[in-house]
C-alpha cells in the first residue's frame, strides 16, 4: 500500500481498540445510497515510482527545449543552484503555515527577511508574505486601495491600457463582482508611453479612488512615473505601482515616485528565483506605506520577543485575515506562495543589490542588442520610441502569429504576439532577451527571422 505504513497486525489491533470489525464500518454514517458503487474505474491502476518516472520524463522531453525570447510577464533568468537545493530541504518544503511560531522560526524568519527585501526594493514601509501571482496581487492592491482611500466614495480605478492584457483580465475577474469600475487610460501610439493626458482624459471629471501605473508597461516601455503619481495624488487617488521587481534594481522605486511616492506597489516576484514552469507557481508581492498596513491582505510576519526577551518572529495583524475576521477579512486568501518566497529570499540574498543591477543591466543590453539585429531585417522595426527596460515591441511585415509559428517550427520562441491583444498596432511582436541569452543565440534569431521573412515575403 503506497505511503500507508499499517501492517496487518496494526490494523487488527486498531480496529479492536475502536471496537469495529472492519474498516468499512467506520463509514457507516454516510447514507448508503450515496456510497460509491465500485472502485473508481476511470482512474488508471497504480504505477510504481519507476513507471511514473518514465512517463513524466517522456512528457517533459515532449515539451522540447526551444530557445526562448518571450518575456511578457515571465522571464528566463539564471537561478543560482543554491536556491532550489535549499528550498527543497524538507524542513522548508514540507512545513505548514507557521501557526505555531515557536516551531516555525525558520519559515517565519525567511518571510520577515523577504518582507524586508521587498520593502527595500520598493522603498515602501511594509510588505506582506506573498499573494498568488502578480496579476492577482494587483487585484488585491486595487481592493486594498479602495478600502484605504476612505475619503473617496467612488469605486473608480484607472487602469492603463498599456498594462499587461492578461493582468487586466485577471483584475476584472477578481474586482468586478464587488462593483469596482475599471476605466482604461490609453497610451501614445508613437512612444508606447502612457501620459498624464491619457490618464486625465480617461478620468474625466469624476472622482477616482485609485490609479494603476505599470513600470515598465507591457511594451517594455518606461512610464513617466513621477508625473503620473503627482497627478493622481492631486486628484485624491491612491497610487498603485505595478512593477517588475528586477527593474527596480535600476529604476526609481515606487516609494520615490513623484513628490510623495506611490501608496502601494505590487508585482510578480517570478524573476527572483522562480523557474518559468508554464506559468506557476510564482508569487505576487504587495507592499505599502505604514499607514495602509491594516488594509494589507495576506499574511504578515512581525519581529517580537519571547518570554525570555529573545528576538523571535510570528504572524501578526491576524485580525485582518479570514481565519479570524471571516466575512470581514481584508481578503479570502489563506494558502499563499510561501515556498516561492523562500526561493525569492535566497535568490535576493545571493545577488544583493549590486548583483541585481548587473543582471538588469545585462538584460537591458541584450534586448537592445537583439532589437538592433532584428531591426536590420527589412520590414522589421521598433514600434515605439520610448525608452525600455528589457523588452521591446517590433513592427513586423506579416501577422506575428504566422511568424511565431514558423520560428517555433525551428525550436525558437520569438516573442509575445501583441497584435492579438492590441489590433490597433498592426503586426507587432514583443521580444525579450534576458541576461541568459548569448550573443550566438541572438544572432541565430536574427538569422532565422531574416530567412523566414525573406521566404514568406517572396511567396506572398
Amino acid at each position: 500500500m503506497p505511503f500507508i505504513p499499517h501492517t496487518d497486525d496494526d490494523i487488527r489491533a486498531m480496529l479492536a481498540t475502536i471496537g469495529v470489525e472492519r474498516i468499512d464500518r467506520l463509514f457507516d454514517e454516510i447514507p448508503q445510497a450515496l456510497r460509491c458503487p465500485e472502485a473508481l474505474g476511470e482512474i488508471p491502476p497504480a504505477l510504481s515510482e519507476s513507471g511514473i518516472g518514465r512517463l513524466m520524463r517522456e512528457r517533459a522531453r515532449a515539451d522540447g527545449e526551444p530557445l526562448c525570447f518571450i518575456g511578457a510577464g515571465a522571464y528566463d533568468h539564471h537561478i543560482p543552484a543554491a536556491v532550489w537545493e535549499l528550498v527543497s530541504r524538507g524542513e522548508f518544503y514540507s512545513a505548514y503555515t507557521p501557526y505555531q511560531a515557536e516551531a516555525s522560526q525558520g519559515t517565519l524568519q525567511v518571510l520577515y527577511e523577504f518582507q524586508s527585501m521587498m520593502s527595500a526594493l520598493t522603498a515602501l514601509d511594509a510588505s506582506n508574505a506573498s499573494l498568488y501571482d502578480g496579476a492577482s496581487a494587483l487585484a488585491e492592491a486595487v481592493l486594498m486601495a479602495l478600502r484605504a482611500n476612505r475619503r473617496c466614495t467612488s469605486q473608480r480605478v484607472l487602469v492603463p491600457r498599456a498594462l499587461h492584457p492578461l493582468w487586466r483580465r485577471t483584475l476584472a475577474t477578481i474586482v468586478e463582482p464587488q462593483g469596482v469600475e475599471l476605466i482604461e487610460a490609453g497610451f501614445d501610439i508613437a512612444s508606447g508611453q502612457s501620459s498624464v493626458a491619457h490618464y486625465a482624459e480617461a478620468a474625466g471629471e469624476d472622482e477616482i479612488a485609485a490609479v494603476i501605473i505599470a513600470q515598465p508597461n507591457v511594451f517594455g516601455v518606461l512610464e513617466p512615473v513621477d508625473a503620473l503619481t503627482d497627478w493622481a495624488r492631486a486628484r485624491g487617488a491612491l497610487v498603485i505601482g505595478a512593477v517588475n521587481p528586477l527593474a527596480l534594481a535600476l529604476l526609481s522605486p515606487p516609494g520615490d515616485w513623484g513628490a510623495q511616492g506611490a501608496d502601494i506597489a505590487c508585482g510578480e516576484a517570478q524573476p527572483f528565483g522562480m523557474p518559468l514552469a508554464s506559468g506557476g507557481p510564482y508569487a505576487g508581492f504587495l507592499c505599502c506605506r505604514q499607514s495602509h498596513v491594516r488594509q494589507l491582505p495576506g499574511r504578515i510576519v512581525g519581529r517580537t520577543l519571547d518570554a525570555d526577551g529573545r528576538v523571535g518572529f510570528t504572524l501578526t495583524l491576524q485580525a485582518r485575515e479570514q481565519h479570524i475576521r471571516r466575512s470581514k477579512a481584508t481578503s479570502n486568501i489563506c494558502t499563499n506562495q510561501g515556498l516561492m518566497v523562500t526561493a525569492a529570499t535566497i535568490h535576493l540574498a545571493l545577488l544583493g543589490a549590486e548583483g541585481l543591477e548587473r543582471v538588469a543591466a545585462q538584460c537591458h543590453a541584450n534586448t537592445a542588442h537583439l532589437v538592433e539585429r532584428l531591426a536590420a531585417i527589412p520590414g522589421v522595426e521598433p514600434l515605439f520610441s520610448g525608452a525600455v527596460f528589457h523588452e521591446r515591441a517590433l513592427r513586423l511585415p506579416l501577422p506575428s502569429a504566422e511568424v511565431l509559428e514558423s520560428l517555433a517550427a525551428h525550436e525558437l520562441l520569438g516573442g509575445f504576439a501583441l497584435d492579438a491583444h492590441y489590433p490597433e498596432l498592426g503586426p507587432a511582436l514583443l521580444v525579450c532577451a534576458t541576461e541568459a541569452r548569448t550573443e550566438e543565440e541572438m544572432a541565430h534569431y536574427a538569422d532565422l527571422l531574416g530567412r523566414i521573412l525573406g521566404a514568406r515575403l517572396a511567396s506572398h
Partner: protein, 491 residues
Amino acid sequence: MLIHDQSRAGRRATTQAPLNPPAPEGIPASLRRRQRAALPEVSEMQVVRHYTRLSQKNFSIDTHFYPLGSCTMKYNPRACNSLAMLPGFLARHPLAPDSHGQGVLACLHDLQDILKAVTGMHAVSLAPAAGAQGEFAGVAMIRAYHRARGDVARTEILVPDAAHGTNPASAVMCGFVAREIPTGPDGDVDLEALRAAVGPQTAGIMLTNPSTLGVFDRNIEAIARTVHEAGGLLYYDGANLNAILGKVRPGDMGFDVIHMNLHKTFSTPHGGGGPGAGPVGVSARLEPYLPVPLVARDETGYRWLTEADRPDSIGRLSAFGGNIGILLRAYVYARLLGREGMGRVAEFATLNANYLLARLTEAGFEAAYPKRRASHEFILSLRREARDWGVTAMDVAKRLLDHGYHAPTTYFPLLVPECLLIEPTETESKEMLDGFVEAMTAIRREAEEDPERLRGAPWTQPVRRLDEVRAARHLDLAWSAQPQGANHGES
C-alpha cells in the same frame, strides 16, 4: 541573526550575476534609482549556511508528526517533487505555443479526468491557485449562473458556523452577503435553521462534508434538497476530500460545484504556507462558467482553452495557468496511488483518526462529539482541563512541541471551546499515534500536577513562547538600515 546582519559593504556572491555587463545607458537618468536598495551583501557560503540553519528551526512533515486538523499534513512523496522539477517542465515559458507543451498539457488533462472521476463532477478547471481562490471561482460561477438566468435577487450565500474562514470571506469577495447557519448539538448542520434561512435571496450554500468538526453530515440529502428547492446551488468545500476519497462523491451528494485542495488530499507540499492548488469541479449546468484556462484534447493534440473559446467563463484568476508545478505533483501522486490507492487514503485516514480518538478518550480527554464516528479528523475540547487546572488548549499545544510533536489545530472551529482539531492522516504508523497518546497523557498529568510547566511551554524550541500582543502593538515588519536598539522597532 538576520541575513541582513551578516552584510558587509562590498561583499558579493560574484558568480551569480553577469560578470561585466555594459552600463544601461538607454535608461533616462530621471527614471533611474538614486540609492541602491538595502539588500544584504553576503557570500554564497553565508547564504547557504544561513538558510540551512534556518530550515533546521522548522517543524515539518519530513521531521515531525504534524496532526494539524483540516490541514492534512501527510507524507509528500519526493518523486512528486523531482518529477515536477524535470528540466523540460521547468524551462517551459507560459506563453510558449501548445505545440511545445504537449507533455505538460497531457498531464494536466489526465489530472482533470482523475479529479472528475473522484468527485463525480462533470468538468474541472485547474486554474485556481489555492482553496480560497477555488472558493472564489466557485461562488463566482454561482453568481454567473443566476445572472445568466436573470435571477439577480439572490444576494446571500449560506455558510455553516463551523465553516473555514475562507468560505464567508470568499462569498463576500464575490459580492454576496454571507449568512451563518448554526450547527446542531451532534455536529450536523441545524436543519431547522437552514430551512428558516433559505429563500428567494439564497444564491447557494457552502458546505464542507465531512465538516471541520470531523463528522459527516448525515442529513446531506435533506440539505441538498432544501437548498435546491429554494433555487440555490450547493458548493462543496473539498478541503476534506481525503476523508471520503473513493467512498462517496460530492457529485453524487448533489453538489453543483466543488473545490479541492490538492495540497491536502493530493499531498502536494505546504511549503511553509504555500503554494497550493484549488481546482474547481462543476455540474453540467455550471460548465460554461468555469475559470480559464482549461485543457482540451482533440485530434491534433492538447490545447489550452481561453476566454476566446469560453465566452461565458468567469474569466482568468491569474496571469497564466495557475500553479502548474503543484498540479504536476498532484498528478504524480494520483498515478502512484492509482485506482486502488484512492479509497485507501480515506480508509486509513479514518482508521487512524478513530483509533486516536478512542485512545485519547480512554486517556481522559473529552471528545467534542463523542457519539459520532470521527471522519479523518476529530475534536477534543479541553474545557474541563481549563476549568479545573487553568490550562488552555494553547498551553497543551505548546507543550506538545517539547515532546517533539507539532500541535493540532487550536481554537478552530470557533464553536467548540478550548478545542484541538486533530488529523493524523493515513501515512502515520500506529507506533507514532501511540507515541502521541503517551505525550498527551503525560501532558494531561502535568496539567494537573504542574500547570506552570505547561503555561511556560515550549521550553525546548529555538525560542520560548512569543509575545504576539507585542508583535501587533509594536509593529516591526521589516529590517531597516537604521539600528533600532534593543527594542527592535517600537513604533
